[in-house]
């Protein structure tokens, strides 16, 4: 079963806010000068910010903020965030892969930016709605 795709807009302001909230002040997430110096096309989102957005998608699908039992991703491609009002977008979709022996639901997740996958092996196990 396919779950409805969820789209998240990501701007530089979001990265600044996430840096402050998470304590991850790596300058590749706010300084083009630093990002390009290490070979990136420009400022990129924190991988953990992308994972947090996927976490929002998962809890929305599950219908409960405390539903996640297991959650893993592999970061394969950076989410480049231009310094514009629109920033960029991350699209998150998932398919239900079945149930575990404990009655939990397994999801296989796809996250893309500009049509390219930014995560692989993204999976979550969630409690079904109470």
């Amino acid at each position: 079963m396919e779950l409805p795709t969820q789209t998240f807009r990501v701007t530089r302001a979001d990265l600044v806010r996430y840096a402050g909230a998470s304590g991850d002040f790596n300058p590749i997430h706010w300084s083009d000068r630093t990002a390009t110096k290490v070979g990136l096309p420009g400022v990129i989102a924190h991988g953990m910010f992308t994972m947090a957005l996927v976490g929002r998608a998962v809890t929305t699908w599950a219908g409960a903020p405390d539903a996640v039992v297991d959650f893993n991703v592999r970061f394969t491609r950076p989410v480049v965030v231009p310094d514009t009002d629109e920033g960029t977008e991350v699209e998150v979709s998932a398919v239900v892969k079945g149930a575990t022996d404990e009655g939990l639901t397994r999801l296989d997740i796809t996250a893309t930016c500009l049509g390219e996958k930014v995560l692989s092996q993204a999976r979550a196990t969630v409690r079904t709605p109470r």
Binding site: D14, A21, S22, G47, M48, A52, R56, P65, F71
Partner: protein, 148 residues
């Protein structure tokens, strides 16, 4: 960059307790756009059976990233942090983190490999309360890029 595989299995001393604040959970939830009332309103969290506001699923990274400095700053291991890229991340929960938790981290190095000039380091952080209740296990794989 090649990392010393003899570090596999090494466990570090427990970190000092991290006290999870209600406002920190609200700040983190706001930063990721998580608007569910259970992240913001203690009454909404209590209605779900939690003692206080519930942290979003990736919140523990705040605690484990700070704790992992024990490893990445271990001079014997010699990770060059400016060359580090995040590879994989996993959270396996016993229960969600809630405001009021006092969390202690125990870091273990699970895997050290080298491939194509890059070093790969997988750490497991067992996060439990000061009373010893396991809360979440967190795995993080980092890639230490080679000089090439």
């Amino acid at each position: 960059m090649s990392l010393d595989p003899s570090f596999v299995g090494r466990t570090y001393p427990p970190t000092a307790p991290y006290e999870v604040g209600r406002e920190k959970i609200r700040e983190f939830a706001t930063a990721i756009g998580a608007t569910d009332p259970a992240h913001h309103d203690p009454a909404a969290a209590r209605a779900l059976g939690h003692p206080d506001v519930v942290a979003p699923p990736t919140f523990p990274v705040i605690v484990t990233m700070a704790a992992s400095r024990q490893i990445v700053e271990d001079p014997e291991l010699g990770v060059d942090y400016s060359r580090v890229v995040h590879g994989d991340q996993r959270f396996a929960y016993n229960r969600p983190v809630v405001a009021g938790d006092e969390l202690v981290c125990v870091n273990t190095i699970e895997e050290v490999t080298s491939r194509g000039g890059h070093g790969f380091l997988t750490t497991r952080t067992d996060v439990s309360t000061v009373a010893g209740e396991p809360v979440v296990a967190v795995w993080s794989k980092i890639v230490v890029r080679g000089e090439a």
